[in-house]
Assembly symmetry: C2
Homo-oligomer: 171 residues x 2
């Protein structure tokens, strides 16, 4: 079967997307490294934990939410634990399980860093987009993410499904 090459429009979109995502992640990483001493992913871990029931989550659930591998998460949490932002706890119901819990220190750091982070996201992303574009971005992103999660996904965990709670920090 012959390759369906990208059309010029697709090629432009693809290149623009690659450039934008690289630059944006870079800018955000730099800002957070500067102001919170950690890269974006690590901040996101704190953020997700802060919004979870009792500010704690099982490793697998956390990895699933963040769309990263368990291995990567293990490394990150180990660092965050060393820094006192997170504490590991045993899981009563399942002795294999490990739970990551946000410490008060971790929460404080998150709290302090959140405004700067939001400001960065805003100034580099949302300030550049119209209201319609924000909607479009969500739809596009959702479509892509959905497609990518359809088949190879990990088994769904039994407890703690998606639950929204109010919080100041965005991941």
């Amino acid at each position: 079967m012959t390759t369906r090459w990208l059309t010029p429009e697709e090629q432009r979109a693809w290149r623009a997307y690659i450039a934008a995502s690289l630059l944006l992640e870079d800018a955000i990483d730099r800002q957070l490294q500067q102001d919170a001493g950690m890269p974006h992913l690590y901040y996101s871990i704190l953020s997700v934990l802060s919004e979870s029931p009792e500010r704690r989550l099982r490793m697998t659930d956390l990895a699933e939410r963040l769309k990263i591998t368990r291995s990567r998460l293990t490394y990150a949490v180990t660092r965050l634990e060393k820094d006192g932002m997170v504490r590991r706890e045993a899981c009563r119901h399942d002795k294999r399980g490990s739970i990551a819990a946000l410490t008060d220190d971790g929460f404080a750091v998150l709290d302090r860093a959140a405004p700067g982070h939001v400001e960065t996201v805003r100034s580099f992303l949302f300030d550049r987009l119209s209201k319609e574009q924000v909607g479009q971005l969500e739809e596009i992103s959702t479509a892509i993410a959905q497609g990518l999660q359809e088949d190879g996904t990990r088994p769904a965990s039994d407890d703690v499904p998606w639950r929204r709670r109010s919080s100041t920090a965005c991941s």
Copy 2:
């Protein structure tokens, strides 16, 4: 000044975007690692070189095109050179300069890998989007990238204009 927190719409868009970009880069990296033995960035280096005059480009120009640091590029090119995909050449006009040139082997690898790569991009991205959405994605991405490049607040420095003069691949 009080923080301008993200609206619910913005928060949804931001989270969807983060998830999508992580998953997409991941999928593409995995496919290319599998089929071409290199991550996406490395493939992109070959790709950019292949489209450049005489299939060669100065390191700085290459880094600029790819939106990555010189340091990162140096490492990548060193690996690619070790693998015989790229050759470093001296620059006549500027003895500081170093030129990365795509080898025939490198071109061959690119050629073999391209169809699979395009198919992956297509199936995970463009097959999920309408024609309008492709256009929207380009506009959104361009807006973001532009903002990030024009903004002087980025590379650790003070005065260097982000836009660099490009030197034609000399020689």
